[in-house]
Each structure stands twice: as C-alpha cells, then as structure tokens.
Symmetry: C2
Subunit: 80 residues, 2 copies
Amino acid sequence: MRVRVSVMLKDGVLDPQGKAIGHALHTLGFGNVGEVRAGRVIELELDEADPARARAQGDEMGRRLLANLVIETFTTEVVG
Amino acid sequence: MRVRVSVMLKDGVLDPQGKAIGHALHTLGFGNVGEVRAGRVIELELDEADPARARAQGDEMGRRLLANLVIETFTTEVVG
C-alpha cells in the first residue's frame, strides 16, 4: 500500500517559510491569500496489503522519525 | 476556503531526501518500506467562497510560484 504522511508545524509555532510564501504570493498579485503554512509530505510504498495496518505503520513512522512532535503534528493517509 | 498544494519531485528525478528517510526507516526496523518520496505541502487560507475558484487559484499559484515544473509536479486540493 502507499501511505502519505503530512507533517506541519503546530499552530502557534512561527513559520517563516509560510510567511515568505505568503509575501511572495501577494507580490505576484494574489491579494486574497491569508495565512500560509508550509510543511513536508512523505510518500512511502509499504509491503503491506491491509489498509488499517498500513495506516498504523505510517502513524508509528511519523512518531518515531518523520515528525518532531515538540513543534510539529502529522496526519497519515492511505493513498492506494 | 482552505487549499492544500502538494509538491513532489517528478518520477525519475533523484530524491536523496526520500532515499535518506527510507534508509533511516530500515535502520529503525521498518523492513517493509519500499520507495520513499519526499515533498512539500503548502496550506493556504484564501478569501474565496467558491471551491472551484479556490482550486483554480491553487493551481495557478502552483504553476507560478510553488512548484518548479521542470523537476516537480503538484496537486491542489480544497480542504475546507
């Protein structure tokens, strides 16, 4: 199965990359852009046929390696 | 509306970050991990009530700023 783990900074943690992107979009004329948050996405091919187990493994990998839970949160989706 | 633009390297473009993550996961004991691809995700709050227009604007921002279309692809989702 294919699993996608999305890692974002927690609300309240300063996100300079998101701020820079928002500023650049305003400069390009996208005046209706409000808050922008930047994060990472990791797509993993797992040798695991059961979607629930694949998702649980994605969660474990998020906790143990992919996210820094002090400042980040993550979500896991099975994408196929 | 809230829009999420996910930017990934194109298939065939070397992804050293994904390779490093895959190697680290194997070292941690996740032996069933196959290919790993790393990318970016940008979540944007748009002052736009129409989901179709929000999505179209996400696509335009992807093309004009968020992705390097020479080596990357992106997908846009309306998330709320």
